[in-house]
C-alpha cells in the first residue's frame, strides 16, 4: 500500500507522494518534466516564466563548491505568450500536477503571467519572489513585506488555482514574510529559495560567476532551510513545502517533522534523476517501521514538547 501511505493533499493539490521537482531544474519542456514525474516526483514545477522572453546570463552560470552549488542563470525563459503552448502540451503529457513558477517586475506583471499560466492549465502557481540574482524582481520583491503582500493580493485576485509563495531566506526574520504572504492570500508557502552567495577564484583573483553573485543550493543550506520551515510552521496554518538541500529520504523526513507537508528537490537531480524514487522508497519504509498509516501524520511532530 505504498501509494496510500505517501498520498497527500496540499491546498487541494492531490499528490501521490510528497516529492516535487523544484523550479529551475530541467523545467522548460513537457518531455523533460514528464521524465522527472516518471522518475517518481509527485508534482513538477516549471522554470520561472515572466511576461517577456529573457536570455539569462552568459556562462559561468553555475559554480560547484565543496559544500554546494551556486547558480546565477538569470531567469532565462521564453515569456508567457510562447510558454502557454508548452503548458498546454505538458498538461496532455503529465500524469502529476503541473505547477508553473512565475516572476515579474511588478505586481501587475506577476498577475498577468499567473493568470495566463492558470488559463493554460497550470494546476497551481508558485510565485518566485526570492530569486537572489536578478535585479528588480525575485528577492527584491520578496524582501519587502509590503511589496510582497501587494504581489500576492494581485495574483490571488486574478487566479483561482492554489497559490504557492516561495520565500527568500535572505531576510532577517523569515516569519514576517511568511505571515505577510499568508495574510495576503497565499495558500501554500515554499521555504526556501537559494541563499545569496559568492565564489572568487584565487588564481585569477576575480569572481567566477558571470553575474558575480548567485544563489547557493545543495546540502550546505539544508540546516538553514530546515530551520526556516520550523520557524514558519510555528506561526502559520497553511501547508509548507520544504526546499533546500534535500537529497535523501532522511532529509525529507526531517523536513516533514519540522512542519513541511511536502518537499522540493532540485540540486540532487544532478547526481541522480531517480532521487524522487529513492526518497519515496525510504520514506515509505520509515513510515511503516514507525507504524504510521500516512505521511500527513508526521508533519510537524518535531514541534512536540
Amino acid at each position: 500500500m505504498e501509494q496510500n501511505r505517501l498520498t497527500t493533499n496540499i491546498a487541494g493539490l492531490k499528490l501521490t507522494n510528497p516529492t516535487i521537482l523544484a523550479s529551475g531544474i530541467m523545467g522548460y519542456s513537457a518531455e523533460s518534466m514528464d521524465r522527472v514525474a516518471k522518475s517518481g516526483a509527485g508534482a513538477v514545477i516549471t522554470k520561472s516564466v515572466g511576461i517577456k522572453p529573457r536570455v539569462g546570463y552568459a556562462n559561468p552560470t553555475i559554480v560547484q563548491t565543496e559544500s554546494g552549488l551556486i547558480n546565477a542563470m538569470g531567469l532565462p525563459n521564453p515569456g508567457i505568450e510562447k510558454y502557454v503552448n508548452e503548458i498546454k502540451h505538458a498538461k496532455t503529457v503529465l500524469q502529476v500536477p503541473l505547477i508553473v513558477s512565475v516572476f515579474g517586475y511588478s505586481a501587475d506583471e506577476y498577475a498577468i503571467v499567473a493568470k495566463k499560466a492558470a488559463e493554460a492549465g497550470a494546476d497551481a502557481i508558485e510565485l518566485n519572489v526570492s530569486c537572489p540574482h536578478v535585479k528588480q524582481t525575485g528577492a527584491e520583491i520578496g524582501q519587502n513585506p509590503n511589496i510582497l503582500s501587494e504581489v500576492v493580493k494581485k495574483v490571488k485576485a486574478e487566479t483561482t488555482v492554489p497559490l504557492i509563495v516561495k520565500l527568500s531566506p535572505n531576510v532577517a526574520d523569515i516569519v514576517v514574510f511568511a505571515k505577510a504572504a499568508v495574510e495576503a492570500g497565499a495558500d501554500v508557502l515554499t521555504a526556501v529559495n537559494t541563499l545569496k552567495a559568492l565564489a572568487i577564484d584565487a588564481e585569477t583573483m576575480i569572481p567566477i560567476l558571470n553575474n558575480i553573485k548567485g544563489g547557493l543550493s545543495g546540502a550546505a543550506i539544508k540546516p538553514v532551510s530546515l530551520r526556516c520551515v520550523y520557524d514558519i510552521a510555528d506561526v502559520v496554518d497553511v501547508p509548507i513545502i520544504g526546499c533546500g538541500g534535500i537529497s535523501n529520504w532522511r532529509d525529507a523526513v526531517e523536513f516533514l517533522l519540522a512542519g513541511a507537508s511536502a518537499v522540493q528537490i532540485g540540486t540532487a537531480v544532478a547526481d541522480d534523476i531517480k532521487v524522487f524514487q529513492s526518497v519515496n522508497k525510504g520514506l515509505e519504509t520509515y513510515l511503516r517501521k514507525k507504524r504510521y498509516e500516512n505521511v500527513k501524520e508526521i508533519v510537524g511532530l518535531a514541534h512536540r514538547k
Binding site: I25, E31, P60, T61, Q64, E66, M73, N77, G79, T267
Partner: protein, 269 residues
Amino acid sequence: MPIANNTMRTTQILEIRNESPTVKTFVFTDRLCSKAKPGQFLMLWIPGIDEIPLSIMDTSNGIVSVSVKAVGDATRYMHTMQTGAIIGIRGPFGNSFTETRGRALLVGGGTGTAPLLFLAKQLSTKTDRLTFVEGAKTKEELLFLKQIGKICEYKNTITTTEDGTAGLQCLVTKPLSDVLDREHFDMIYTCGPEVMVKKIFEMTDKRKLPIEASLERLMRCGIGLCGSCVIGKYRVCRDGPVFTGAQLREIKNELGTSKIGIDGSKVPI
C-alpha cells in the same frame, strides 16, 4: 565522487597547436580529465569571458587536449590566448562511446572529428580494422588527417570536401551509402553537425546497424540541472552526449530539426 562536487580548478595552457585556419588545439594538465573516456566533455572557463563545453580530444599522463573552432565571441577570444594563460576546468562530464571489438566505422564532420580521433586511438589496439570517413567544407578544414591516416591506415580513410579541394567533392554522407552496402560493420560512431548526424542515423537505421552518435547543444550547467541542452526527454550533458540508435529513434522528431534556444524556447536548427 558526487557530480556536484566536481569543482572547477585552474590550470595553465601548456601548448597551442594550429590545426586549421579556424581550429586550434589547447593542451593543459588536469588530473581528473586526463582519465576521461572518448566521448566525454569538459567545461572550460575563460576567466572573465565565458565557460564553454568542449569534447576531449586526447589524454595522456595527466595531460588533456581539446580542439576549439573560432565560431563565437568566447572561442574567438580563446584563439587569442597564449601559452601560460590561466583557464578553469570542470569535468569530465557525460557518458562515453562504448568499445567494440569488431569492425568499426567512424564518421566525423568538422570539429566533430576530435572526439572520434580520441576514440580511434583507443579502439586501434582492440579492433582489427577501423574505417574513418571525414568531411569538411574545404581541404584546409579537414582535421587530423595525418593522425587518422596513421591509426586507420590511409586505405581505410575516406575524405570529402564541399568545395572539392580534397578527396571527394560531396557531403560526408554520400560515400557512406556505398561503404555501408559494401562492408559489414559492428558499430558506427559519428559526431558532427546535427543535420549530418540525422542523415547518418537514418542510413544506419534503415540497414538495422548499431550506431552511437555524439550530440551538441547549448549548455549552461553541464551537470543535468538547467535544462538548456534537453532533446526529447534526454539531457545531452548528463544522459549523453553519446546516444544509441534506440535513443536517437526516440528523439528523431527533434534530431536535426529543433533545439532549445538561449531563452528556453524551441528554435529550428
